[in-house]
Structure formats: structure tokens, C-alpha cells
Symmetry: C2
Subunit: 402 residues, 2 copies
Amino acid sequence: MEAHVFFLHLMLMLLAARLFGELAVRLGAPSVLGELMAGVVVGPSLLGWIAVDDVIKLLAEIGIILLLFEVGLETDVGKLLKSGKRSAFVALMGFFLPFLFGFALAFWGFGLELLVSLFVGGTLTATSIGITIRALTDLKRHNSLEGQVVLGAAVLDDVMGVVLLALLYEFSIGGGVNLTNAGKVTLFVVVFFLIAPSMAKLISLAIHKAHHATDIPGLIPTTIVSLVLFFAWLAHAMGVPALLGGFAAGLALSRFFFLPFGIALKTDPKFAHEIEGQMRPIVHLFTPIFFVTVGLSLNMREIDWTSPFIWQFSLGMLVLAVAGKILGALLLREDWATRWRIGVAMVPRGEVGLIFAELGRTSNIFSNEIYAGMLLVVAFTTLVAPLGLKLLYRGEPDLAGR
Amino acid sequence: MEAHVFFLHLMLMLLAARLFGELAVRLGAPSVLGELMAGVVVGPSLLGWIAVDDVIKLLAEIGIILLLFEVGLETDVGKLLKSGKRSAFVALMGFFLPFLFGFALAFWGFGLELLVSLFVGGTLTATSIGITIRALTDLKRHNSLEGQVVLGAAVLDDVMGVVLLALLYEFSIGGGVNLTNAGKVTLFVVVFFLIAPSMAKLISLAIHKAHHATDIPGLIPTTIVSLVLFFAWLAHAMGVPALLGGFAAGLALSRFFFLPFGIALKTDPKFAHEIEGQMRPIVHLFTPIFFVTVGLSLNMREIDWTSPFIWQFSLGMLVLAVAGKILGALLLREDWATRWRIGVAMVPRGEVGLIFAELGRTSNIFSNEIYAGMLLVVAFTTLVAPLGLKLLYRGEPDLAGR
């Protein structure tokens, strides 16, 4: 594509994101919802001004990775571990219930084939960390108890989702299931989260040293972004979703991060603060590109709205997708408000769900109708949850108004 | 290209830029020189780890546009206009002398064809604003008198270079020269620089308003980058180099900018300062990508080092390229130190020169040998000038040490 055309497209995406974001907020919805809609409006679904191409895809991926870096940066590992058991419970429930529900309805309800039904179930498993956290951040609740539980749970079932994907992929090509392979993935994930933060921490100390040694400006943006890109790559190389690499790097640089072998590597809060300050504009520049791109890649025109199947299928799946995530949370031992908030916050599906659907289509497991139906479900969960959260926090002391 | 591979490449470019930049400074050279070398080292010339692809090209172009935005942001229009006459003189001299010298040597010295010789001359005309300004900025001299003169002159002969390119292009395809066309280009350039800054200024006021109205963070990075992208697009659409669009946008947002109809649109220094603060990390992230990319695109392997012609041709052209730029400056009515500094600062060729050479090759006007020779000249001017400047400022009160 010609450079100047690309400039125009990028500008359009950024401005549309801002415009619809502001609009959403005026209408009492979180801004992330507006940014998703922006993609739907300027994308193939409506105006068709912009289509997703490789460059936009790359920038969008950098956007979500940087967003998770910032999420990690603001995460208190201590809190996260404290909420660990609840997160694990929510994650397990929120993973298996939607999978089983989705599979059951597809297999017995609609009489789809085994493999198709498995993929349908898989598409419903993973919560979208990006959208969930953005929705909570828009409400200034990402550091609340429920925020911590949801974050932990979302990370966990993202990982489980990827493991399942590996399993089903094996199954779809080889016919059989290769458990050692899935085991390897799981192992890698665990190893990654054991070594990555400490590794990133050590590197950040070198950057800190360099920061005091150099006269050339611009050390922090270039080196920190490099650090994030490296861990995104490392994550991918180990079969972990790249965005979790960004999350790990952020955790390591967070002011609240501590290593097992503790004080030796204490974070200099001034440096951590400077990193936050310099990275924020970069994160704010890239993240809208991701959310708009999600909207762009949901082509509503691919859906044959006249077919009754689509409506029954996607509506049924939507109900199960929502119920499956909320149910687990309702079994927690918290006050009901918190349970509901956690449950609803877990509802949005995103990255991993789209990967499932995409793989399902490209490997001819999903018919166009099924694919469209699943897209619809993913779309609605991402659109409904932020609104639900907004409602659940109504009447609370409004932290959202800055 | 797979996303994770791209992450690795981008990381490599950023780190190499930083590493070689630091190295250059330790060796007493400006860091921009190191960043160019970084590209040569990791690129096809040496290690061949990274090749320029469309994504990198786009990011690099955004980098140079953002750099010129920052240059504009720090430019005092008053000063610039005051140095206008000298800039115009230096620009005219620095444009025509290299063109004539280059043409003469090619046509009579090496007996090349008319069109070839014209393209050779054209390749030598335009100073690289980006490299010149970075070199002066590394020495903290971009706001000195010579800095202003050079900036003005570089902008002017960039424009003249583009007009000439339009002329020669007509000539190369149509055979004849279409002056009205060149006239149109010139007109557009003038119009652009008359309207663009005022237009950008008006838009920036809207952004300023929005800045106070919104609760959603990240307004400045997204809207200001959009503004810059828009003027880059507008510039290109009017036949002006895109990077000058970034420059115009920067000028308009500069703290020192004033409009003919003056005080009505006075800049709020606090807001201008906030823009600078939030844009700086973004600029620092993107600009190294540009300089490394310049290094990447100079493939030294394309050159047949054994051919004596290459040596004679490129050496002869190099001498004329340097002499042609310096001579004009030496005729200025300034103290000799200033004249020399202005002259040497004008020496680096870059973007426009490379476009000339590229067009020359793709339209089969340049043989591979001539093309390689011209690349060599462009390369050496970009490498030599920063060193020369560094020497010319030796003994001066060292502003460079932060």
C-alpha cells in the first residue's frame, strides 16, 4: 500500500476510535465499546473505508501487547497472588462450563459433528483480557479486588484456551490427540511465567544503569519497547500467547514487583515512575489501533441475517457463553455484587476466541454459517459485558469521573 | 511476515540503533552516524539479518515525519524568517552548484548521456533535512543561527529537488519538458506552506478544547499523531514531500508560532509544553527506525568494488557534492567559522537523493554501476558531514554534554 494512503487510514482509525470513544462515554458506555464500534463503522461491516491488512494487524498486535504491558506495570503481584485461589476457581469454571455448554448445544442441540462441536466449545472458553481490563479501567476498577480476580482468571483461561487449541489442532489434523504435545505447551507456559519476570527484571536493571550513563535522549522508549517486543517473541516461541509476554514484562517492571530472592533487585520507584510516564503516551497511541482492528475484523456482512439457523445458533450460544462465565463467579464466597461483577467481567471473548473461529474456518471445520454465528457471539460478548459492568457499578461512588 | 518475527526485527533495529549510537558518541561521532551504521551492519551490506520490507518502510517514514514534526515544534518561525534571505541564498547555491557540477562531470568528464547526466546532477541537489538536523541536534546547535539558516535552506532545496524531479521525470518519459507541470508543483508547494500551518493551528485549538473537555486519557498522542499524519498526507497529495507536512504541523504547534492575524490564536505555552512532553517518547521511538532503515537500504554488496570506474566516478562526484554545497555558504557575509559550519551542515544527502537514484535505476536511466556510484556518494555525504560538523564545533563551549 502507498505510504500516504496508509497515513490516512491510520489517522482515520485513531480519530474514529477517539470520536466513538467519547460518544460511548457520553451515552454512559465505556469508551472501549466506542472504539470497537468505530472499527465496525469504518470497516467492511458498514462504510468499508478501511480493511485489515498486515501492517494494521502488526500495529494492532503491538497495541494489545503494550496494553498488557501497562496492565502488568500497574499490577500488584502480591494482590494478584492473594486473589490467586479465587482467580483459579473462576478461570477453571469459566473455562470448562462454556466449553461443555457450547459443545453440548452444538453436538446434541444442533447435531453438529464432534470436531465442529469441540471447536464451537473451544471458541467460548477464553476471556479477552484486553477488553475486560479496558472496561474495568474505564470504570477505574482495575485495581479493585474483583479487578485482581478477573485479571488472574483471564490470564489463566487464556493459557488454558491456548492449550486446548493445541490439543484440538492436533486432533483436527492428526485425527488422534497428542497429550504429550499439550503437556509440553502447559509446561512451557509454567516455565515462561517462572522465568520471564525475573529475566525481564534483570534486563530492566541494565536499562536502569544505562539510563544514568547515557547522554543520548530516548533510551527508555526504545529499550523498554524492545524489552516488551522481546518477551512477546519469547512467549510466542514457547507457545504462549504473545500478549502474555507483554504482561510478564510489565509485571517485572511494576513498582509492586518482588522476586523470590527479594530485596537485592528492589525497584527504584523513581525509575519505575519515569518508565510509566514515558511509556503511557506510546501505549495510548497503539492500544486504540487494537480495539478498532477487532471491530474491523468483525465483518457483519459475512452474516446471512435471513437464515433462522444463525439466529437460533448464535442466540443459544450467546446465552451459554454468558451463563457459563457468570455461573462460576456466582459460586465464589463474596458478596453478591462482587460475584456478579466478576462474572460479567469474565464474559467478553476476544483474541483467543477469534483465533479459534479463524482456525475453524481456514481448516474447513466451520461452515460459513457456523463461523458467522461464532463471530456474532464473540462480538456480542465484547459489546454486552462492558455495558453490564457499567450498570453493576451504577450507584457506586463514581471513580470513573477522573 | 509472521508477527513474532517482526517483533524480533523491530527489537533488533531499536537495540542496534541504540548500541551503535552510544558507540559513535564514545568515539566522538554524533549518534545519528551510529544509527546509520547500525543499519549497514545488521542489513544486507553485512550481517543480512534484516531487509527493508513494506512495514519497516512505513514505520521509518512515520519516523522521519515525526522527527520533522519535532523539528518544527522547536523552530522559532521568527528566527527562521529572519534567516530567510541567507537560507534562500544557501539553498539556491547548494542546489544549482551540485547540479551543474554533477551534470558537467557526468556529461563531459565521463561522457554519459544527457538524461543520465541530468539525473546524476539531480541526485546531488537536495540536502537531507533529517540527517542534518539530527547532527546539529546531537551537538545541541539546532537553535543556533547556523541551525536556522541550514534548516531553512534544507527545506527550500528539498522543495526545489522535488520540482526538478518532476521536471526530469516528465523529460525521461515524454522526452519533452512540461514547464506548466513543474510550475504547478511549485505553486502547490507555496500554497501548502501558506495554508498548512494556519490550518494545523486552527485544528490544534480544537484539540486544546477537547483536551479540557474529555475524561478519556490519551487524547494528545492520538490526535496529535493524527494531525501529523493528515498533513503528511496532504503534503503528498499536493506533490510536496510528506515529511514537510510533518514539519508544517510542528511549526504550527510550536511555542514560537504566530499567525499573520496574530494574537487571536495565541498558543497556550502550557499546552504546547504538554504536547512536547507527550510526543517526545513517541518521536524517540520512531526516529531511530528511520535512520537504521537508511542504513539498511544502502546495500554495499551491490557495488562492484573491483571496477575502477566506480572509484573514479563516485570519488569525483563526492568531491563535487561536498564542494558544491560548501561553496555557496562560503560566500555568505558571516564569520568564517559560521560559513564553514553552514556549508558542511548542508552536505548530507538523503531521502530526495535516494528517490532520484531509485527512479534513475527503475526507469533504466542509471546502469547498476552508476546507481551504485550515486548510492556511494549519498552514503558518504551522510557519513562525512556529521563528523565534519563535530570537528568544526570542537573547542566550542561544549553544549553537547547534555
